[in-house]
């Protein structure tokens, strides 16, 4: 809600000859940063990845500092040991079919000799997503899932990835070849009018099924797409991951979620320290970020087409100035070579005299090239 946004004070401050200066507090950097471990290890033999990194300085550009060369293993109560193999960039592969009726401990031995261990973890098999769909209402489109918890799987965490078709304002089939100085039709791999945009959303959605009758979580909102949003300009897809997490993990995820929602302005909620279920052996007070879970993740993907949610008119004011030129550029004219040669101006429509193309109406690249904003290749999973 708008009024929650109390940034106006900041605005006020500027008013009164306020002044803004860079602030660099002398923060005692935890040596090498705090260890961050993330992973939901699949217990059913499917591939899953554990990532180990360090927190990075706040003002740096890099935010992911991988921890390389760690020895990671999962040890069961009965003493069985399952090793993880290092992939790259702090990622460690886990691919084991492990008995789900046991309790496990994750152990991480770093190159510097520090040894981290987790609290006992019991695998939780996430119940199926019963249904995923969307509701069209006045405010836009709401994507939801239905699921049902059980005695072991009570708390749920949903995350999602979104992908959608992105189109430029002006589509052009033509390409100017700098070598031949001719305009041709674009080949399949050169097309710039169909792209796919993907985003992993930082949203973390948490719910406890035991709040509801029969532990049925009905119409859990995953995301709300506001009316006329870009994502539904043509076709939209969302991959929803549903994970069961133990009750103790809820606090970790909630803190992570709350700490993400603000960036520390004076009126924002007070953040708090995040920890998890990992500890440094010998120095249990040392903070470690991460909550490792074991179990089976359930995923589902749904698609939504713009024509199913009409009226839906995406319009980006940034491209309001885009239009096809009124004056044609004649083939062979000085302008033809200079404009098209730079690549900033593209031939968009042809001007015919009889059956011959004599000139092209032009468009600018920023209005016509979707690859400036998204990726051209169709993702592997994409279904048309």
């Amino acid at each position: 809600m708008r009024f929650k946004d109390l940034q106006f004070l900041l605005v006020l401050i500027f008013l009164f000859t306020g002044c803004r200066e860079p602030f660099e507090p002398e923060i005692e950097n935890v040596q090498g940063g705090v260890l961050v471990v993330e992973g939901y290890l699949e217990s059913n033999g499917l591939e899953s990845v554990l990532s180990i990194s360090r927190t990075a300085p706040i003002s740096g550009v890099e935010s992911f500092i991988p921890e390389l060369g760690a020895l990671v293993s999962l040890i069961s109560d009965s003493g069985q040991l399952f090793k993880l193999t290092e992939l790259k960039d702090g990622e460690y592969l886990f691919q084991q079919d492990i008995p789900e009726n046991q309790s496990y401990r994750l152990e991480i031995l770093l190159r510097n000799g520090e040894k981290y261990y987790s609290d006992p973890i019991t695998p939780i098999i996430t119940p199926e997503i019963l249904d995923a769909g969307y509701i069209r209402d006045e405010e836009g489109v709401e994507v939801y899932v239905n699921t049902q918890g059980n005695e072991v799987a009570d708390d749920f965490l949903w995350t999602y990835e979104e992908t959608w078709i992105f189109r430029p304002v002006i589509r052009t089939p033509y390409i100017y070849r700098n070598d031949t100085k001719e305009v041709e039709l674009r080949k399949e791999e050169e097309q710039i009018d169909l792209c796919y945009k993907s985003e992993t959303n930082p949203d973390l959605l948490l719910e406890t099924s035991s709040r509801f009758e029969d532990q049925v979580v009905f119409r859990q909102t995953i995301t709300e797409i506001p009316q006329d949003d870009e994502r539904l300009m043509e076709r939209y897809s969302i991959l929803i991951s549903q994970k069961s997490i133990p009750q103790e993990a809820v606090e970790f995820w909630e803190t992570l979620k709350r700490n993400t929602d603000d960036i520390g302005s004076i009126f924002s909620p007070l953040p708090s320290v995040i920890s998890g279920n990992l500890h440094l052996e010998g120095d249990e007070d040392q903070p470690v970020v991460g909550y490792i879970s074991l179990g089976v993740i359930k995923q589902t993907r749904i698609y939504i087409n713009q024509k199913d949610v009409l009226p839906w008119a995406f319009n980006d004011p940034e491209f309001d100035d885009c239009s096809i030129s009124i004056e044609p550029i004649y083939i062979g004219s000085p302008q033809y070579f200079s404009d098209f040669g730079t690549g900033a101006v593209l031939p968009a429509r042809e001007l015919m005299e009889g059956t011959t193309i004599v000139a092209y109406y032009s468009s600018t690249r920023r209005c016509s090239d979707c690859t400036l904003y998204a990726n051209r290749g169709k993702p592997d999973f994409w279904e048309d």
Binding site: R2, S63, I266, P269, V273
Partner: protein
């Protein structure tokens, strides 16, 4: 009330002669800058009937350097001849005789004036000034076996006949002294015989009376209150008071003292003025919210007479809500809070309203760069006086001007406030007083969103004097506070949001004297609070905003109190009180039900419960104790100790460290218990250099329970279930305060230093979240070192300069210290709660006040005040925030007044 009792006594003991004599005495006006005495006499002779007789050669070395405004000749001559060997005598026909070495005897023998003395029962000292000064009053009947006798009486002002509280009555040989009480009464025991009695009205002028004390008797005295300065304010808690009163931690600042402080943008600010006192600080430069001895800003009871101000600020805290022209003095009670006050944990800030002059219609006002004010006061008929005032701002032009240098437009801010105080005297025994206050604030930062709030306070107070010993006051009133946001950026989303608070109170207070040693106070205080925590409604026909309302809350606070001040002997003075508070929280209300012993989290909700209207949902009750005692070491120093326990039934929900207008209130309910606190304090008070220097030091320790801190990411606006977001927190605070004040002399001012800590700790029984792992952490306003220096130098009576400095440790904040990637996104890693601090705060200000000339016949008395705020132009950080920039989070500190801010205000009085 006290004033009128005095006036009453005054009439009884007083002969009418003195009135006319006072009225007829010629007054002297003018500015005499270093002229010769002879020239001075010539000028006085020109304008008055006085005729001077002197030896030219004797007085040639004397020069006169003063400012007279309706001054009496005797006062001027006293000042001129101070420290010299000259004497003067005034004869009946306005002849003035100047002599060197020996005083000429022009007054008549004692016996001659037996008509004005009523031996044994009452002598009047309130006759012509020159006369009373030199006449020796014979007091009482002599009896051979009596060695000492008690002289008593009342002290009132010569100018307006109002009683004077806190005036010191003393004699200079044994330094026996006493102070006039709240009703202007004094009583002093002296050896039988001749004495010179001196009367000093603090901050005023010393008067003297000659007496021949033969037995117990009464001498009422009217003294000049202000001779030289344009001081308008009665100082009611002064240096001797500080030594002799049993309470500690009580500090008074008069409006005239505040006027000398450099103000932001030229506006005298009542609340900013108290920040020079030790133990009081603020977290932000432009926040009126202040913190007293490690308490939160909502723990201060801000009273305008009996009315509670819920938002004591204008324009987001740049100005305080009450017009300084409308009040007489401000008293801050940090400890030693009397039992008749209650409802807040930390302090009571009592603003005493002004009630208009009795002599004629007059007024005052000021014109500044951003604000202007005007007030009018005077009598209506014989029994009624009034004062009415208003203030308004025209700051938009400044905003427009500043906008040229900034990226926003359509910023608007405005406020106004209105005051009306009326006093009506039905008789000497019955006085009715009305105080009314209304303020309106409105501001916006873009064209579409308008914020506004209103304070409304009305109160009536009837004071009745049963007899000399017993008085009672009955008051009733209404305090209202409303806040609104109107958002119209898009017709579909247009909304109106608001919350409000409505408080109705009734109070009865009795004050009873038992002999000379006891003052007993008792009474009852009822307070009904209705709170609308939040309502959002669609605005306009097209809006699709869904109406949402947090259920209204209501509660009744009932308090009874009794206290006794007991002056055991010269050394010991104790006061004790008890206040019993009963709090009922009423339905209708629908609340969640949580399992017994389980944390009140959303996950644990097992049902809903609805209460009927008027049903008592929850009751809290408990006693509050107030004890303090004084032990006099000698006439100049004393030791005091006190214990105070307090309860607070309402909480300000503020998920940030400064008061912002969107902070909402919450009444204690079945999940949130009243805050309680206890404070222990010990102090040493000493006056030095003939009371010109006051020194005090106090140490204190406070512990507090049921404070509210917030879970990470707590929501406070439109939250139906606040219990899910707040954490039961314990607090403790301790500190030591030093204060040195020089109140007299050309160079005056004060220095204060405080070392204080304020620490919070999540209650170990709190299951929702333990902040910082359940360890102690600094509160949002923990600023260990705080020092304030104020220096005022009177270059001349018309020109004074003030310099002030302010230093404090930066307040604690929680900062992002590093970042990491988790669940596919960049996340921020925060330090422990309040582990970091913003940089220290340091500011120097300078101002000068220029008084216009003091000719009596001119249209208005005027003065200019101008100066520079933040002379050094230091950027004191107000806020720290982080913002993503080129893929990295970058920290910025914001300062409000990062440059020297000059200001100028023209003030006038007529």
């Amino acid at each position: 009330m006290k004033i009128h009792l005095l006036t009453f006594l005054f009439f009884i003991s007083f002969s009418a002669v003195s009135f006319s004599q006072n009225q007829d005495q010629p007054k002297i006006n003018g500015f005499f800058p270093g002229i010769s005495l002879e020239r001075f006499f010539e000028q006085v002779e020109e304008n008055t009937p006085y005729r001077f007789y002197y030896k030219k050669q004797e007085i040639s070395s004397v020069t006169v350097n003063l400012q007279a405004s309706d001054s009496k000749l005797s006062d001027l001559l006293d000042a001129v001849f101070q420290g010299t060997d000259f004497h003067y005598s005034v004869g009946a026909d306005n002849s003035v005789f100047i002599s060197k070495g020996k005083k000429l005897q022009v007054s008549l023998s004692d016996d001659f004036f037996s008509n004005v003395e009523n031996a044994g029962s009452g002598s009047s000292g309130q006759v012509d000034d020159a006369f009373v000064r030199n006449n020796r009053f014979i007091i009482g009947q002599s009896s051979p076996d009596k060695k000492t006798a008690i002289l008593s009486g009342t002290i009132s002002s010569l100018e307006n006949q109002e009683i004077i509280t806190g005036a010191i009555v003393f004699e200079k040989i044994d330094f026996t002294r006493t102070i006039s009480d709240r009703e202007g009464k004094f009583s002093i025991e002296l050896p039988v015989g001749r004495h010179t009695i001196y009367i000093q009205n603090l901050g005023g002028y010393i008067e003297q009376r000659l007496i021949d004390l033969r037995g117990d008797g009464v001498l009422d005295m009217a003294i000049g209150e202000s001779i030289y300065s344009l001081s308008e304010v009665v100082v009611n808690s002064g240096s001797i008071n500080q030594i002799s009163r049993p309470e500690m931690g009580v500090q008074t600042l008069t409006v005239s003292e505040m006027k000398k402080l450099p103000a932001i943008l030229g506006e005298v600010d009542v609340l900013k003025g108290i920040l020079v006192l030790p133990g009081v600080n603020t977290v932000g430069e432009a926040s009126v919210g202040f913190n007293v001895r490690g308490g939160a800003s909502d723990q201060n009871l801000v009273l305008f007479e009996n009315s509670t101000l819920f938002n004591p600020s204008h324009l987001f805290g740049f100005f305080s809500a009450i017009n300084a022209d409308m009040i007489e003095s401000v008293e801050l009670m940090k400890a030693g809070i009397p039992a008749n006050y209650g409802g807040r944990l930390s302090s009571v800030l009592q603003m005493k309203p002004k009630f208009g002059r009795t002599d004629k219609i007059g007024g005052s006002g000021g014109i500044g760069l951003l604000t202007s004010r005007l007030s009018l006061e005077g009598p209506i008929g014989e029994k009624t006086t009034f004062i009415a005032g208003g203030r308004t701002t025209y700051s938009d032009w400044v905003l427009d001007y500043l906008e040229d240098n900034a990226d926003f437009n359509a910023s608007r801010a405005s406020f106004y406030d209105l005051n009306l105080n009326v006093r009506h005297m039905f008789s000497e025994k019955d006085i009715l007083e009305f105080t009314g206050y209304y303020s309106q604030d409105q501001f916006q930062f873009d064209p579409d969103t308008v914020y506004s709030y209103q304070n409304q306070n009305y109160a009536l107070k009837w004071t009745h004097y049963f007899n000399d010993q017993l008085e009672a006051s009955f008051s009733a009133g209404k305090d209202k506070y409303d806040f609104q946001i109107k958002g119209e950026d898009n017709p579909l989303n247009s909304y109106e949001f608001g919350f409000g608070l409505d408080q109705n109170f009734v109070k009865a207070e009795f004050r009873q004297e038992k002999g000379f040693q006891h003052v007993i106070r008792y009474g009852v205080h009822l307070n009904h609070i209705t709170l609308n925590p939040g309502l959002i409604t669609p605005y306009g026909a097209e809006s699709i905003v869904i109406r949402d309302e947090v259920e209204q809350e209501s509660a009744l606070e009932t308090s009874i109190f009794i206290s006794d001040e007991f002056e055991i002997n010269d050394k010991w003075f104790v006061s004790g009180g008890i206040r019993y508070n009963l709090y009922n929280y009423f339905g209708p209300q629908t609340t969640f039900v949580y399992p017994e012993g389980q944390p009140t989290t959303n996950e644990n909700v097992i049902g809903e419960k609805t209460s009927r209207e008027g049903e008592i949902i929850k009751t809290y009750y408990g006693p509050e104790f107030r004890f303090s005692g004084r032990y006099s070491l000698n006439n100049q120093s004393s030791i005091k100790a006190g214990v105070n326990s307090m309860r607070q039934n309402m909480h300000l929900l503020s998920n940030s460290s400064v008061i912002s207008p969107t902070d909402t209130w919450k009444l204690s309910d079945e999940f949130i218990a009243p805050q309680t606190g206890i404070q222990y304090s010990l102090g040493y008070f000493r006056n030095m250099a003939q009371n010109q220097l006051e020194f005090s030091t106090e140490v204190y320790y406070r512990s507090m329970r049921n404070l509210l801190d917030y879970r990470s990411g707590a929501t406070i606006i439109l939250n139906d279930d606040v219990e899910q977001d707040v954490l039961n927190t314990n607090g403790k605070a301790y500190g030591v305060e030093f204060f040195l004040k020089k109140s007299a002399g050309r160079l005056n001012g004060s220095v204060s230093y405080t070392y204080a800590r304020s620490l919070y700790q999540t209650n170990s029984s709190e299951q929702k979240e333990q902040i910082n792992g359940g360890t102690e952490y600094p509160s949002n306003f923990d600023q260990p070192h705080h020092a304030v220096l104020v220096m005022n130098y009177e270059v001349s009576k018309r020109f004074n300069a003030t310099f002030s400095g302010n230093y404090s440790t930066g307040r604690p904040i929680t900062l992002p210290v590093s970042k990491f990637v988790y669940a596919g996104s960049e996340r921020v890693y925060y330090s422990d709660r309040n582990e970091q601090r913003v940089p220290d705060y340091f500011r120097l200000d300078f101002s000068i006040n220029l008084e216009g000339n003091h000719k009596v016949n001119k249209l208005a008395h005027s003065s200019w005040s101008m100066g520079v705020y933040n002379v050094l132009g230091r950027s004191n950080p107000y806020s720290i925030y982080y913002t993503p920039e080129d893929g990295a989070l970058r920290g910025y500190q914001l300062s409000i007044f990062a440059e020297p801010i000059p200001f100028v205000t023209y003030n006038f009085r007529f």
